[in-house]
Amino acid sequence: MKRGRNKRLSTSLNILVQAVIFLEAHTMSYHSIVLVKQVPDTRQVSGDVMTNAGTMNRSALPAIFNPEDLNALEMALRAKERYGGTVTVITMGPPQAAEVLRESLYRGADKVCLLTDRKFAGADTQATSYSLMKAVEKVGQFDLIFCGRQAIDGDTAQVGPQVAEKLHIPQITYSEQIIELKDKEIVVQRAFDLGAEIVKCKLPCLLTVVGSANQPRPASVRKRIQYKLAAIPAEYPLLLETWPEFESEDKIEEYLEKCDLKIPVWTADDLNLDTARIGLAGSPTQVHKINYVVLEAAESKEIQPTPEGIQALIEELIREYVVG
């Protein structure tokens, strides 16, 4: 008798446990962190940017949101819309990099954070990934980290995998599409120039996202208004110029804090890190030398863009067995 009741009890307990697991699986939401970078728009390199000495006029290049990082942000935002959760965007860079964080807020990020400190300067990918890893640890809870496949200023594609290794989590590079997120697992399609792969991975994991993944959404007009004043403290003087009615930087601070518009800034001291592993000193790679390439013009012939000029060129190429 007693035994029967116990059995019934354990059966109902079992059902209850199953129900909880079921509910958990279907109410599961995911916390994402997106790592982004502000880069000089190297796609705009043209005659204007290059000086006659063969050096580059960097200031002639506009600073932009690294294109594939926008794809990474878009993937994170879509995951949030589909499954629920939060999107936190982190960038490391000079104070001007706050711009990409505002851009992230305009697109739907919940939280943003700027890592900025002179001590971070001159970092190679090892030192950068170490600092970013520490920032991720400070954020705390996460299921997914998204990065662009690579940044257009260096094209190294190293920081994502190096952050993953330092966090001891798996990575899915070349991610094109999240096919499914279920419980604590993700199914992702990876895209290569010559093929594709579908992988299943336990969370938490880090994805690097390719440009073909999606069409990043434009900034929302509503959010642009909502976050217009979002700023880091270094930007307060400029804000005060535009909005003199605030009267003082303290009042700006007070207002931004009240409205949750103050963009948090973390310095090296905020991150509980080993200063020997950041910035130039923490970078195992060193620049031995930089050569400005001043090309000696090859012995070249100018060909006129006329029927006669082109015909003579083709004849010469055939005569010299270059074509034909």
Binding site: P40, G47, E165, F192, D193, L194, C201, P305
Partner: protein, 341 residues
């Protein structure tokens, strides 16, 4: 303390028992560097039932093959491959590790570099051996690996070194180094290594993988007609394709043309695309950023067509045509057709 060994390791990439060219190209470069360092070239070959490939690696320049066979290594996955590579680095402490800058190499190399705590330079266009002085300590480091690559979007070439960490790691794109002929008389040793995995190495499963053969063969094409950001439309780009067909060549592109969606990334020539050395390279509407030039400036003959007479591409061109593509391309096509008659 024993004297540091100066061996050069090459990560060998294979899929379904077929060797990727980039590994063989790196073996050849490794031989050259090992000659300078008076050391050995070791090939790291991972996979499942791949022992037969070891001999080919020796013929292409390896003195020693580290053979790691395991069913879990059949298809490349980041974590098991990182485990094997990092464990072997710890055991043997190589001086240099070179990895192909393929999707596999670009996934593996940063992970391994991070695990080993060493520096890594991506997409090198040249590798040399040379000295470096750490100025702060006034310490001379002899015979380091010079990792040479174009940098920062502009026309600078940076020489990077890793003075304090070993191995010195670099990735190199396929086609940048030249593969040497197999020498079947070469002898070498094969050493097997049994990997020790952990449960956590298998948190990722490959559900399906479909790879296709390359349909674009830029590397072997005698003629390449390449378009850049100056190509105004798809119609204009099609003219380039017509010209390439007529010449029995391939169509290439600069990054600008690929980013503009005019053609797929497989066609990209340059540091982050394919490096080519054709008999004839026609650069149409390409401004000639260093990253592009790094991938084509060793072509036998270069024709550049651009509306901007100061475009950097003209500095490497043998034939300079200042003009509009919409006019010049049809003229080229017409002149060729007439000659073919």
């Amino acid at each position: 303390m024993t004297k540091e060994n100066r061996n050069i390791w090459i990560f060998i990439e294979q899929e379904d028992g077929k060797l990727a060219d980039v590994g063989l190209e790196l073996l050849s470069k490794g031989r050259e560097l090992a000659g300078t360092l008076n050391s050995q070239v070791w090939a790291l070959l991972c996979g499942h039932k791949v022992a037969d490939l070891a001999r080919s690696l020796i013929h292409h320049g390896a003195d020693h093959v580290l053979l790691v066979e395991h069913p879990e290594l059949e298809i490349y996955r980041t974590l098991p491959y990182t485990r094997v590579t990092a464990d072997l680095i710890k055991k043997h402490q190589p001086y240099i590790l070179l990895v192909g800058a393929s999707p596999v190499g670009r996934d593996l190399a940063p992970r391994v570099a991070s695990a080993a705590g060493v520096g890594l330079t991506a997409d090198c266009t040249d590798l040399q051996i040379g000295d470096f002085t750490i100025k702060k300590e006034n310490r001379l480091c002899k015979d380091l690996l010079y990792q040479i690559r174009p940098a920062f979007g502009g026309n600078i070439i940076a020489t990077i070194v890793n003075p304090n960490t070993r191995p010195q790691m670099a990735t190199v794109r396929e086609g940048v180094m030249r593969k040497s002929q197999a020498d079947t008389s070469r002898k070498g040793e094969v050493e097997t290594f049994t990997p020790e995995f952990q449960e956590s190495d298998f948190v990722l499963q490959v559900l399906s993988r479909e790879m296709r053969e390359a349909t674009v063969h830029l590397k072997d094409s005698p003629v390449i007609v390449a378009g850049g950001g100056g190509v105004g439309s798809q119609d204009e780009f099609n003219l380039l394709c017509d010209l390439a067909n007529l010449m029995g060549g391939e169509v290439g592109a600069s990054r600008a043309a690929v980013d503009a969606g005019l053609i797929s990334r497989e066609h990209q020539v340059g540091q982050t695309g394919t490096t080519v050395r054709p008999r004839l390279y026609i650069a149409a509407g390409i401004s000639g950023a260093i990253q592009h030039r790094a991938g084509m400036d060793q072509s036998n003959k270069i024709i550049a067509i651009n509306t901007d007479p100061d475009a950097p591409i003209f500095q490497v061109a043998h034939y300079k045509i200042v003009g509009d593509l919409a006019e010049v391309m049809p003229l080229l096509i017409k002149a060729l057709r007439e000659k073919a008659k």
